[in-house]
Symmetry: C4
């Protein structure tokens, strides 16, 4: 199996996992992966029902988001994925969903502050929400501009430590070192969005967690000093 | 299989899908379809348990809502379905449920404003909630009048772009080009009702989404300029 | 199979249905039935895990709540059931659960006002919450007094039209013409508690539904003028 | 099977039950047990996926939390468990989860007041939330200090009557006479956290339940006067 065939299988599995984890209903989501050597993105086709999806339905696009191979049109969000892959050279996989708890924050136009260690174990600070897009950005190459507003002000370092963003009035994008890792981060994001929603309703003036505690939890799982897990 | 037998099968499947999707418990819902050539509505029988339902239990009624054929009484909401089929000649299917998130909005007497792209992908503006019915409307031909208050102020164009309405103090009706499509819209409505509820609790003074973004999302999926999916 | 053996089977099935419907976890609930001719109550044993429950584990008690037959101790709530059977001679079955949405209202000490037709289809007015019990009622024959506070101010007619009550700081009791019917009412109560919670959070000053609409819905399903279902 | 092998099996089953009950997703939880005679703790390995977990993967540590035997590193929370076992000599099992409802209270830094009998049946008073940890406690032996802040002000009697605590900005720990009992208490805690959240949103100034009712419910299930269940 060559690399693209293997990536199609991985991307297929990532897409199906979004459904199994309850993050995607109907056709509301997509996962992609990238072959960095060849500069090729593999992504779910647009609007195909998950029950009928097969690995060979995955579409291959170039780094501009233009279709290179495949029997279907690629996801309508392909240009957003492409913009993120271009901006963050370390990304290996991206997901987009309308998972309901994260989408509630996105629709409110609010980032998710770090309120607890579950958040700090994965996301190093507030999960940002993008600004509203300008009318011209919406009417033009909307999907590419959606990627651009996510990227605004994010360095690659930021993208490593913050593998998620909420698009204003829309929903979450997450990423990771490969498609499966991006899905994993979308699972975590949804759970965190749930917890954050409920704790600020308990205490509306709740400040973010202590910076020391955020550091401790993020850094015991990430980077050279990590000691969580079997590493 | 003649058209009516085929429609009974479709309507049966639509009713069962409402249960499978968690939108209907006990006997709290119904789906119907219409044979426009013959002017015949096919609808679920009243108060029969879903576990015992079979395709040939579906009841045939005329466009006035009067039973034409079938071993059971038709749904008590048949006159409401009939009123909608008469008012909107393009409808091919209708569903009614007490799905809990949409019902919460209906019970509060509030329409669901468009807060995000999930909404804009399906519903072109605020999902309306009907006015309270007058005592005389309730005591008389209540079910037919329920259809009438939905129809008030809706043109066929409106009905195309807004395939749902909430009945005040009651619950949602959705419609579509066929029974399955109506069920699909009821699934979407419930998810949107959930998201909207949570985002206004996060930000109580949240305005509707930008008009440009609503246009973009609705029109990229509907009408001559659509580019979502495999069309 | 004699009547008591049949009733044990019915009561067993009602108890298991509470678990299947998600209204009871661990050992937090009980259902009972009564043989009015012989004046015998059949009820779940106390604190036995549902997975191990069998029909012949059901305990027989007299109308005072004293055990008459059975290898186990009856539910610690038996005296509450007995008090309700004595007060309302038409009841054939009773259930008690800690189902979480109804329990939230009970813990807040609030009745559930009728906000919509789902409520009106089953419960003819506000589902009442009992007063707080006096210290002497709690320290003495607590379970019997729990029944008494439910009964306060309820006539048999009330009990017919309002087959549920919330016990303050505790949880719901429901009843019906047999154990299965009581379970059915507890399913409905939980769904209504969910809807009512969410609609008053949308509109905190929401008044109860129109009296005409409550009448219409209750009376189209109950009493001599009913026309819902296959009656 | 010797005692340690048996305890590994028990601890394995307790960990898997946390997943089955929906209290743990991904790797966010751990259960342990202790062999008091030999002073050995058995605990889940760190960061291993539950699907791959087997009884012989459980790690053995001494009462200081140092690994004694096992192919994997023990849970990163081992020092917290060890601190609790040292402080409360009657404990036989401990669990830690990020179960979302309890975590919402913990993230808000709020204990869970007793609002109803479900609470009183298991927890004799407010389920406490720890104070924030000082920067020096977080940067040093963080996990051991986490145990210490739970223990602050808890006697063994307190630990018997209050088998749970929330760690500020983090999540719940529960305990019991053995690992399975600790899991049972974590199931109850999550349900109580749900109910308490919803009842204070219904009535924000809700006082705790009556002291007499708390006494009645706690003491009818615990201690010499207990009469609930088949005892």
């Amino acid at each position: 199996m060559d690399n693209i065939a293997r990536l199609k299988e991985e991307v297929y599995q990532a897409n199906m996992e979004l459904v199994r984890k309850g993050l995607v209903i109907l056709t509301w989501g997509n996962a992609s992966g990238i072959d960095r050597e060849r500069g090729l993105i593999v992504i779910k086709p647009s609007g195909v029902e998950y029950e009928k999806l097969r690995p060979d339905h995955m579409v291959v696009a170039d780094i501009q988001g233009n279709k290179v191979e495949g029997g279907f049109k690629p996801s309508s969000d392909t240009a957003t994925h492409a913009a993120l892959y271009k901006a963050f050279p370390e990304l290996g996989g991206i997901t987009h969903t309308h998972s309901p708890w994260a989408a509630a924050w996105a629709q409110a136009g609010m980032g998710i502050p770090p309120y607890g260690t579950t958040h700090g174990d994965y996301f190093y600070g507030e999960i940002p929400c993008t600004r509203k897009m300008a009318p011209g950005e919406i009417s033009g190459e909307y999907e590419a501009r959606t990627g651009d507003v996510i990227v605004e002000g994010f360095s690659q370092t930021d993208a490593d430590r913050m593998p998620a963003a909420l698009v204003h009035s829309h929903g979450p994008f997450t990423w990771g070192k490969d498609p499966w890792d991006a899905v994993h981060n979308s699972v975590v994001l949804e759970e965190i969005a749930f917890m954050a929603w409920h704790c600020i309703k308990l205490k509306p003036d709740l400040p973010p967690m202590q910076a020391e505690l955020l550091d401790k939890h993020y850094l015991r799982k990430h980077g050279p000093g990590a000691y969580y897990g079997q590493h």
